[in-house]
């Protein structure tokens, strides 16, 4: 096991700077508090209520503690000197190096107002008041849950999102579209997302659109997401799923509905026929090499389903390897030749190709628009 290795540290400049733009647009608010959809907005509103409860509660508790210390020490200083116990303790503690307010000359003893009322203080302050606050937060939580439990009425589209180690498959079953690491949705329409897993537990999280819901093998979870603004939203696997959990990210791309429809149509088509000779040779390389065992290019081959991303329209995607690399020619070449160097532990093996084969394959894949 290499202790130090080259790490996929691509992507520092992903051309998808929309993420950053979204950050700035949200008045510097972090993603979860800059919601762009009703579900995330509901959550953000719950957060702000909780936050404005938490601040005064903390401040009050800290103040009480501070006041208690200051008052009690003031009283200790003024304490009647014949309180021998306190004098004895204080003197002894001073020997240990403690900073002790030693009782001074005889003065009338002062008693804290709390003396004799402590049980009431504890029960009311620590029990009754928190209970009232918690009843409020509980009701709010249950109301929030009810919101999430109600399915929206006009669900326009349905997507099956399937988590794999370490990439995402998005299938639009009504339209015959299968793509990877990039989910397109129409703006302002509710989309039903069925969450499944092919191997271990993953978690589907788009902070600006929805909280996270896990993808569990043998189980289908359903959420509804809606993006209210066109844009590109950052998505992440949130449940640790193995070595490349960190590089299992995706993008949600919200488009106007017409644009989205034409995207669907384009994606449903078979892969374009290569026109030039080099790309045609590349297609043959693809079919004859290991690539075709796992990757499907519709119109060219049919690999075992769900093993690796569908490459039919690879060149239209913004990123490679679950948002590990921006999808540009140079990165595509590097990713084909050395996936384990770029994303150690990913399921894509290195393929041995001669430089001729490689250049042809790159030409072909780069043209899969």
């Amino acid at each position: 096991m290499p202790v130090l290795s080259h790490v996929p540290n691509a992507r520092r400049w992903v051309p998808v700077t929309v993420v950053v733009a979204a950050l700035l647009a949200g008045c510097e608010m972090p993603l979860a508090l800059a919601p762009r959809g009703p579900a995330a907005a509901e959550i953000a509103s719950i957060w702000w209520i909780l936050f404005w409860i938490a601040v005064p509660v903390s401040v009050i508790v800290f103040s009480l503690l501070g006041i208690a210390i200051v008052r009690a020490r003031a009283i200790a200083r003024e304490q009647d000197e014949h309180d021998e116990h306190d004098v004895r303790v204080a003197e002894r503690l001073r020997e240990t190096g403690a900073d002790v307010g030693l009782p001074e000359a005889s003065r009338p003893a002062r008693v804290s107002w709390l003396e004799g009322r402590t049980t009431g203080f504890v029960i009311i302050g620590g029990g009754v008041i928190p209970t009232l606050i918690l009843i409020f937060t509980t009701v709010m939580t249950l109301q929030g849950l009810a919101v999430f439990d109600t399915a929206p009425e006009d669900v326009a589209y349905s997507v099956t999102a399937r988590g794999h180690m370490f990439w995402w498959q998005f299938e639009y079953p009504d339209h015959g579209v299968v793509t990877a690491n990039e989910m397109h949705v129409p703006v302002g329409r509710s989309v039903r997302v069925e969450l499944e897993s092919a191997d271990v537990i993953h978690s589907f999280w788009v902070p600006q659109l929805h909280g996270k819901i896990e993808m569990i093998p043998g189980k289908t979870n359903v959420i509804h997401i809606q993006a209210d603004e066109a844009g590109t939203y950052f998505g992440k696997c949130a449940e640790f799923c193995g070595q490349q959990h960190a590089n299992m990210e995706f993008l949600v791309i919200a488009q106007e509905e017409a644009e989205f429809e034409s995207w669907l149509e384009a994606q449903a088509a078979d892969a374009p026929e290569p026109t030039d000779e080099l790309a045609q040779r590349g297609r043959d390389v693809f079919v004859d090499s290991q690539c075709a065992l796992c990757h499907t290019i519709r119109g060219v081959n049919q690999a075992a389903p769900g093993v690796a991303p569908d490459l039919t329209h690879l060149a239209t995607r913004r990123t490679l390897a679950a948002r590990t690399l921006p999808n540009v020619r140079g990165n595509l070449g590097g990713w084909i030749l050395d996936p384990q160097g770029i994303k150690p532990g990913s399921r894509m093996p290195a393929v041995n190709l001669s430089s001729d084969e490689f250049l042809a394959l790159l030409e072909y894949l780069d043209g899969l628009r």
């Binding site: 540290n9 690399l325 540009v328 020619r329 140079g330 590097g334 160097g341």
Partner: protein
């Protein structure tokens, strides 16, 4: 008998400050290079670094400041300046490197280096950046 507390506390503060500074310096990272053109290479190294990243050179080559991936496919370019020959065929001059970037198959047929469709000005900027590396 008693501990020289002040001395110790000064030591603690110095230690903390040193640790903080060390961590800070360690991660200051590779900033943009000196923008002054190096050795008559015409081109802007700052723009060159950005171009190297945008084109994806780093997924095959190890380049300081452009670390994208494994860098295990092509040769490391961090000491390109000291190299006598490039692509196994041409003497190492900025112009020849630019030529190779623009048309790898033409310069070195059979190489796995693909034509990344770089335009001339961009290639010059990239070479300018590469020539700032190494030997510092």
């Amino acid at each position: 008998m008693s501990l020289d507390r002040n001395g110790f506390l000064i030591a603690v503060i110095v230690f903390l400050a040193a640790a903080g500074l060390a961590v800070g310096f360690y991660f200051v990272g590779t900033g943009d290079p000196d923008p002054a053109p190096f050795r008559n290479v015409p081109g802007d190294p700052v723009a060159g670094r950005i171009a190297l990243e945008r084109i994806g050179c780093g997924s095959c080559h190890a380049i300081d400041g452009v670390r994208v991936g494994g860098g295990r496919v092509g040769p490391a370019l961090n000491d390109l300046r000291q190299q006598r020959y490039i692509a196994g065929r041409l003497p190492n001059t900025p112009d020849n490197v630019v030529r190779f970037i623009l048309d790898p198959q033409g310069v070195s047929p059979g190489s796995a280096m693909p034509d990344l469709r770089v335009v001339d000005a961009e290639a010059r900027n990239m070479v300018a950046y590469l020539y700032t590396l190494g030997g510092r």
